[in-house]
């Protein structure tokens, strides 16, 4: 008995050691980014690399913030992210509700077609989407990033899967009491779907906050740029001339909201991966 408990403890210890090592490997680039944000331009290029800066250069943060309007980028990112997240929660939950609960001809086929859109690579959609935005006169506006982001096949799928698990008896009782579809959705389904709302909200927030490629194509003026676009504005064609210390400082400030959000909602983030089998 004692032998079994000792071996179990050994396995536990080994598991912990392995997990700690994996944790270190995962967190190392992040720590590296933070420490590099305090280095001088020369220290960034030193080989073998130095982990700790000789002297913490707090001025990197000031310099980065002064060189480019990061406050503007921050506001733009926040606006886009909030609109997209709230919008996507709304449209995906409505779509999910329809696919999970309502009966209409071709429902399953329509759902499959909607899911199939996930298989089309973005570069294929890029030019048609660009032309649509152009015909709306939305080039170089935040609308061009927000509106296409309001709908998500993956989010609808996530919502539908969750809603299918809600007992139908609740709906039936509400229907008997004279509840309309809209009221049913708003008063019964939405309150029961809080966990999946949190999961989709976190995924969407993180994805939109870090979105780079589509805003790169759509946004032309500095005042409309988002944080990821602002970060690359330091990059030069000659790598050695790129002020990586400033990029790291700006990156640290950029990831802060994401970290806070992740800390608050990590339970839902993990749940989302488990529920859907997909990450983002």
């Amino acid at each position: 008995m004692l032998k079994k408990s000792t071996s179990k403890r050994l396995v536990d210890y080994l598991s912990y050691i392995l997990l700690i090592l994996t944790g270190i490997v995962v967190i190392l680039p992040f720590v590296w980014m933070i420490l590099s944000s305090f280095k001088t331009a020369g220290e960034i290029w030193t080989f073998p690399p130095v982990f700790m800066p000789k002297k913490f250069q707090w001025s990197n943060y000031v310099e980065a913030w002064k060189a480019l309007p990061f406050d503007r980028f921050f506001i733009n990112s926040l606006l886009v992210t909030i609109f997209v997240t709230v919008g996507q929660l709304f449209t995906c939950s409505l779509g999910g509700y329809a696919f999970a609960r309502l009966r209409f001809p071709g429902k399953d086929k329509l759902f499959l077609m909607y899911l199939a859109t996930m298989m089309i690579p973005f570069p294929v959609l890029m030019i048609p989407l660009f032309i649509i935005m152009q015909s709306f006169g939305w080039i170089d506006t935040l609308k061009s990033i927000i509106v296409p982001g309001l709908f998500s096949a993956w989010g609808t799928f996530l919502m539908r899967q969750f809603m299918m698990g809600i007992p139908r008896t609740l709906e039936d009782a509400a229907k008997i009491d004279g509840c309309s579809y809209w009221r049913l959705y708003w008063k019964i389904i939405v309150p029961l779907c809080k966990p999946v709302f949190a999961t989709l909200g976190i995924f969407t927030f993180m994805g939109t906050w870090n979105q780079f490629f589509w805003p790169l194509i759509m946004i032309n003026t500095i005042s409309n740029k988002t944080l990821p676009l602002g970060l690359v504005m330091f990059q030069t064609r000659i790598a050695a001339e790129t002020p990586w210390h400033l990029i790291m400082a700006a990156s640290c400030a950029t990831v802060l909201p994401i970290i806070i959000l992740f800390i608050i909602g990590q339970k839902y983030y993990v749940k989302g991966i488990v529920t859907s089998g997909l990450k983002g």
Binding site: A41, G42, W45, T46, F47, A67, L68, M126, I127, F130, I131, Q134, I139, D140, F213, L216, I217, N220, T221, I222, L229, G230, V232, M233, F234, Q235, T236, R237, I238, A239, A240, E241, T242, P243
Partner: protein
């Protein structure tokens, strides 16, 4: 008519209508992409820098797109703002800069293909012909004839002018002149009993010194870059008498003994003589010379201006060597272009001419920039200043005089990006040491290049 037949007919009608509208769209698109002859009706008073074709009181938005970074764009900003303030005060300038080079080359084709092009764009020599070949750029010759820039073309580096031509027509106005040379770590070099390299040094001389400078895995004598990077190594290839293709683009030259010899020499540096760092080392160290791991490094003139090298060790510069078939020096460059569908083409040309031929502006670009400006008479603005000038007294000779004498235009063909993929896939075998016989790789590349040329240029060069 039963319901199914009705739906079938409806579907057919719909498809037909869609097909017709698609053909109309194609016809319209093909008409709009022809390189039209621009009107040159002078209706307004001309100035030294405006043609008098566009109303100076015109309002609207003038869009500019550049790959220059936050710190590099400052100089352009000064000049562009001055131009519009003086000549077109009601035009609003929309500047899209700070897009990294790779992202720039992703975004630009989307804007051009999507029909929302900027009015003036930055153009690289590796891509100019590709854009010109598919009618996305405005031909500049009508402008150059009508409103000739001071000194054009005789006072501009012929290599740069040539780089931005396609089918004998000018598609971009060059703004810089980037040339290559050797950077030498003097702390390492002084420990061997050798003179510094001169323009008469051969590749064998360089290898001999490289061997002396190499100390196992800690210090490498030479770093001339990767043979997988086609354009950057072209000067070495030409020095040995090799080439990529013939002039008419009908035949590959990778089977020439001289071509094979050049690639074998490059490969042997790394895998036989072990005087150059292997990929595992260079990939972990983007700047092996700055890190003090390499004694002699081939690079562009630009890093000499950087702050990175300044105090780490003593260093100097020297000319790149000559080969059995002569001396060739790397030359590259960038330019300014006008998209074919730009809204304000006349203003764009006036601005380009203003930026790149007004002496005061060339001084700003040269002094605040990293390269020589494209006008030869303004070369001195591109020379290092202050402490760096003292450190590199031979800078003008290495990066300017010799480049003018021996500079070679890299033949970036119109389908270069496509061919470069084929080239890289093959040459990476040499670079990563998966194959050590340059002959085997070159012959394989020869066949692949011939197939590519046949497929791409058989009918039209």
């Amino acid at each position: 008519m039963i319901r199914r037949d009705f739906l079938k007919r409806l579907g057919q009608l719909g498809l037909g209508a869609y097909g017709m509208s698609f053909l109309r769209f194609c016809e319209k698109a093909s008409k709009s992409i022809s390189n039209e002859i621009l009107p040159f009706d002078v209706k307004f008073p001309a100035t030294d820098w405006t043609m008098g074709i566009v109303d100076p009181q015109i309002s609207g938005t003038f869009k500019i797109m550049s790959w220059e970074s936050a710190f590099q764009f400052e100089k352009w900003n000064l000049i562009i703002n001055e131009f519009f303030r003086t000549y077109y005060p009601n035009i609003k300038v929309q500047l899209d800069w700070g897009i990294s080079f790779a992202n720039y080359n992703t975004k630009l084709p989307v804007l051009l293909a999507g029909g929302s092009p900027p009015d003036m764009i930055w153009m690289h020599d590796t891509r100019a012909k590709s854009f010109a070949a598919i009618d996305l750029l405005q031909e500049l010759d009508p402008f150059l004839e009508f409103f000739k820039p001071d000194g054009w073309p005789d006072e501009y580096y012929p290599t740069q002018v040539e780089s931005f031509k396609y089918s004998n027509k000018q598609y971009a106005f060059p703004y810089d002149y980037a040339t290559g040379g050797l950077y030498i770590n003097l702390d390492m070099y002084e420990k061997i009993d050798e003179e510094l390299p001169t323009e008469d040094w051969t590749f064998d001389d360089l290898l001999r010194v490289g061997k002396k400078l190499t100390k196992g895995d800690r210090q490498f004598g030479l770093n001339l870059g990767s043979e997988a990077s086609a354009g950057n190594q072209y000067w070495i290839l030409r020095s040995f008498g090799g080439d990529w293709f013939n002039e008419n683009l009908t035949e590959s030259k990778f089977n020439l003994p001289e071509t094979i010899e050049a690639y074998q020499w490059m490969t042997d540096l790394r895998w036989k003589h072990k005087v150059a760092p292997v990929p595992e080392i260079t990939q972990g160290r983007p700047q092996p010379f700055v890190d003090g791991v390499v004694a002699i490094n081939a690079d562009l003139g630009a890093p000499a201006f950087g702050d990175l090298l300044e105090d780490k060790f003593n260093w100097t510069i020297a000319p790149s060597p000559k080969g059995p078939k002569g001396r060739f020096q790397f030359i590259g460059g960038s330019a300014l272009s006008i998209p074919l569908k730009a809204t304000h083409k006349h203003i764009a040309y006036e601005l380009i001419r203003y930026i790149l031929s007004k002496p005061e502006n060339l001084e700003i670009i040269g002094k605040k920039g990293r390269m020589f400006v494209s006008r030869m008479s303004a070369y001195e603005y591109g020379l290092p200043q202050g402490r760096l000038a003292q450190k590199m007294k031979n800078y003008k000779k290495v990066f300017y005089d010799l480049a003018r004498r021996d500079g070679v235009v890299v033949p970036y063909i119109s389908k270069y990006q496509e061919w470069d993929d084929i080239y890289r896939r093959n040459m990476e075998m040499l670079y990563f040491g998966e194959e050590l016989s340059a002959k085997k790789v070159c012959l394989k590349l020869h066949d692949a290049t011939n197939r590519f040329l046949e497929r791409t240029y058989l009918k039209k060069v």
